[in-house]
């Protein structure tokens, strides 16, 4: 009887204990209310002229419904900068300027300034990857102007400049460079990475401007849009691509939309010589026929395909040459291909890869284009039949 009551009392005490512990279990210390935090959407890191770090943050200000305007920018976002000897110090200085707590859980964009890119982004990468609050899938950009200027460029209709950058990546799908990928590339076989460059066109427009090439953690070269295009072919990262070409002895252009493309890297070591074969196989449809050729004859279609191959080859060649000669940083994935194919030889080449092996590598570009369809017409649209060139 008494034992039973004791047991009951114990149970009660336990229940009470559990109830008392309930408020401390959900983590009261770290409770975050939306009106106490500053939602950081973008982070910019740059170096000042005296070698300090300059950190810029873009805070989104969630608008309450009913406030008027807001299209002019500055209303829905706030851009703040601070300088410090290290990045965390600069961030804590920023924190002192703000009433709300910096919260990076929804941060989507990271922009490195050019001076930082030239001197090395390793510290910035370390900070971002070490801090649990940063998402490792934020998109990375490099800019020639300061990150601050980029952040203050708000397109009409967008709430913040982050939105613009984010949508650029999502649409283009070509400059999909997250922090995680940059980390992987910088510490990968080639120790080289490429990060898209964003530039400011005017007060409200941002645009992508090719690619910055990094060797180890320093920016070596800037490939302009045209030169960077070859990268997409080599990496096979694209949604749709238009290739224009001209035929010999014909007026006008022919355009093809590439719908499928495959690339193969075949490394070869023959004695002391290293070669790599780039095999591109593309399929596409004709989108424009500005010549007078009818696409009725397979032979004409083949002629066009050969011309397309040449033009793709030239594009890739331009990129490969620039990366090999100017940047001397293997962002093309050749190192990985060699590592995978020739693990033994790779250990010998590894240390001099970017300086000696890669710039002298023979790159053999082989392109095959298959034109699958002439579009929905094989005739010359808008020409009387007599004027169509017939053999």
């Amino acid at each position: 009887m008494r034992a039973g009551r004791m047991k009951k009392a114990g149970k009660r005490a336990l229940c009470l204990l559990l109830m008392v512990s309930l408020p401390i279990l959900p983590g009261c210390w770290d409770r975050m209310e939306l009106n106490e935090i500053a939602l950081i959407r973008s982070l910019g890191v740059d170096r000042t002229e005296d070698g300090q770090f300059e950190v810029t943050i873009l805070q989104a200000i969630p608008l309450r419904v009913g406030t008027e305007g807001g299209g002019g920018g500055g209303k829905q976002q706030m851009v703040l900068s601070a300088q410090g000897v290290t990045i965390p110090e600069a961030i804590s200085k920023l924190q002192q300027k703000m009433g709300r707590r910096i919260f990076t859980g929804h941060q989507e964009v990271i922009v490195f300034g050019k001076r930082l890119a030239k001197t090395g982004i390793r510290e910035a990468l370390d900070y971002i990857s070490r801090h649990p609050g940063f998402r490792k899938d934020a998109f990375v950009f490099v800019t020639k102007v300061s990150p601050k200027e980029i952040f203050e460029t708000v397109a009409p209709g967008e709430t913040t400049s982050t939105e613009t950058l984010y949508k650029m990546v999502k649409l283009e799908r070509t400059v999909n460079k997250t922090i995680m990928r940059v980390l992987q590339e910088v510490s990968g076989d080639a120790e080289a990475a490429d990060i898209p460059v964003v530039m400011k066109m005017n007060d409200t427009t941002l645009a992508l401007d090719g690619t910055a090439v990094f060797r180890e953690d320093k920016m070596m070269d800037h490939l302009d849009r045209k030169a960077a295009e070859g990268l997409l072919w080599i990496r096979n990262e694209f949604t749709t691509r238009i290739v224009n070409t001209r035929l010999q002895g014909e007026k006008g252009y022919v355009s093809m939309e590439v719908v499928r493309s495959e690339i193969e890297l075949i490394p070869k070591i023959e004695g002391k010589k290293q070669r790599i074969i780039l095999k591109v196989t593309s399929e596409g449809d004709v989108r424009l026929n500005g010549t007078r050729l009818s696409l009725y004859h397979p032979s004409d279609v083949d002629r066009i395909a050969r011309a397309m191959e040449r033009s793709i080859r030239d594009r890739i060649r331009r990129t490969v040459d620039q990366v090999q000669q100017k940047a001397r940083a293997d962002i093309l994935g050749f190192a990985r291909a060699f590592h995978r194919e020739y693990p033994k030889e790779w250990t010998k080449m590894k240390d001099r890869w970017n300086e000696q092996v890669f710039p002298r590598l023979d790159v053999d570009i082989q392109v095959r284009v298959h034109i699958r369809r002439p579009g929905v017409t094989n005739q010359q649209a808008g020409l009387p039949k007599e004027k169509v060139k017939d053999r």
Binding site: L14, I24, G27, H106, P132, Q184
Partner: protein, 373 residues
């Protein structure tokens, strides 16, 4: 010396339940930290480490053999039978070791929660909260623990496996090659850390006496080991596929992997969700260790009931967890190095010694098998 205290655990579990809780005890911590420690050594071959590390699950076999000899008794009870007062000392060692090991688990849990999710919350509160909940479960007895484990962890594992599959949108399979570039040695070195968790299959020595279907225990143990190999391999693989050469960079690779999942742009930010899933798993694991510590102490002291000890031992555990290591780096370093000798000495070598001595001295259990009272 020791009066026959009989069975102070009234509950009975099925062999399958034992397999499940041992499985949770094996993969509990490793699931979130895999393949961090292994990747430093084995690089992209980490997915082979669970297979190598599983050799340590021989400890389960040893526990099984010992239990065959002493049916219905835990190691705390038969160790003094084999070696007299010295055996009593060894039994005490087990008690200390499991408190110590449990402190690692609690410490890992607290470090993840305070290091990633709740930086401002004092670790003691995080640990204390968990230890209290586990103490309540332990008070409920073995059946309560295995039931709650079944109830909580099976869905959690299902969700985690689903997430691992969902991360396939980010997979880059070529990260896997070349396989075994530097031979098997780095893989073996990388298997050191997981092997510590595998050696914990020796906990079966405390569970086997309460298993209803003794004849199935061995088979279910094997199922459990295979299950944990498959689980760890799956998560290791997904880490290699997603993180590539960054597998060794992050302390909680699985967490980083799942953080990168983005399905159609709306299924994102699942990190807190992942913690919630993992919490149930780590709860079960801490419960198991705490139960072993509580039961062991009660049996060692010859008490008639172990329930009153659950709360005091929970407090001891929190204290030990705070003292156990000065920093997370220290803890990781220990569990990737010397810890392997410690855990294997206690969970493989000494039990084998006991088995050998029992064989030589012809000591046998007094109870008939299956007549558990």
């Amino acid at each position: 010396m020791k009066r026959g205290t009989g069975m102070i655990e009234r509950g009975r579990i099925s062999a399958g339940q034992m397999a499940l809780i041992l499985y949770v005890g094996c993969v509990g911590v490793k699931i979130l930290t895999a393949p961090h420690l292994a990747a430093q050594w084995a690089g992209r071959d980490i997915w082979l480490t669970p297979l190598v590390a599983a050799v340590s699950s021989v400890s389960f076999y040893v526990a099984l053999k010992l239990h065959r000899r002493f049916p219905g008794e835990t190691i705390i009870q038969y160790s003094p039978r084999i070696l007299g007062w010295f055996g009593k000392g060894i039994a005490l060692l087990y008690w200390v070791v499991y408190i110590h090991t449990c402190s690692f688990v609690i410490r890992y849990y607290a470090d993840i929660v305070t290091g990633v999710f709740l930086p401002e919350t004092p670790p003691a509160v995080v640990m204390g909260g968990m230890a209290l909940v586990c103490a309540a479960a332990v008070r409920g007895g073995l059946e309560t623990i295995v039931r709650s484990t079944q109830f909580l962890t099976i869905p959690a594992f299902a969700v985690l496996a689903t997430l691992a599959v969902l991360s396939s949108t980010e997979w880059q399979v070529e990260n896997l090659f070349p396989i075994l570039e530097h031979g098997i040695a780095p893989v073996v070195r990388g298997a050191v850390n997981p092997s510590i968790w595998y050696s914990e299959y020796f906990l079966a020595a405390f569970l086997l006496p309460y298993v209803k279907e003794q004849d199935k225990a061995g088979r279910w143990g094997a199922v459990s080991v295979v299950g944990s190999i498959l689980t760890l391999t799956l998560f290791d693989l997904s880490a290699v596929f997603v993180l590539g050469n960054q597998s060794a960079t992050f302390l909680y690779p699985l967490f980083e992997t799942f953080r990168l999942i983005s399905l159609a742009g709306f299924f994102e930010h699942i990190d807190a969700f992942l913690l919630a899933m993992w919490l149930t798993i780590i709860f079960a694991k801490i419960c198991l260790f705490q139960y072993v510590a509580v039961l062991g102490s009660a049996q060692w002291l010859g008490l008639s009931d172990y329930k009153p000890l659950s709360l005091p031992i929970a407090f001891i555990l929190v204290a030990v967890s705070i003292w156990t290591a000065p920093s997370l780096s220290f803890l990781n370093r220990f569990l990737d190095g010397e810890g392997v000798f410690y855990s294997h000495l206690v969970q493989v070598v000494i039990p084998l010694g006991l088995l050998a001595v029992a064989g030589i001295r012809k000591v046998k259990g007094t109870r008939e098998e299956g007549s558990a009272s």
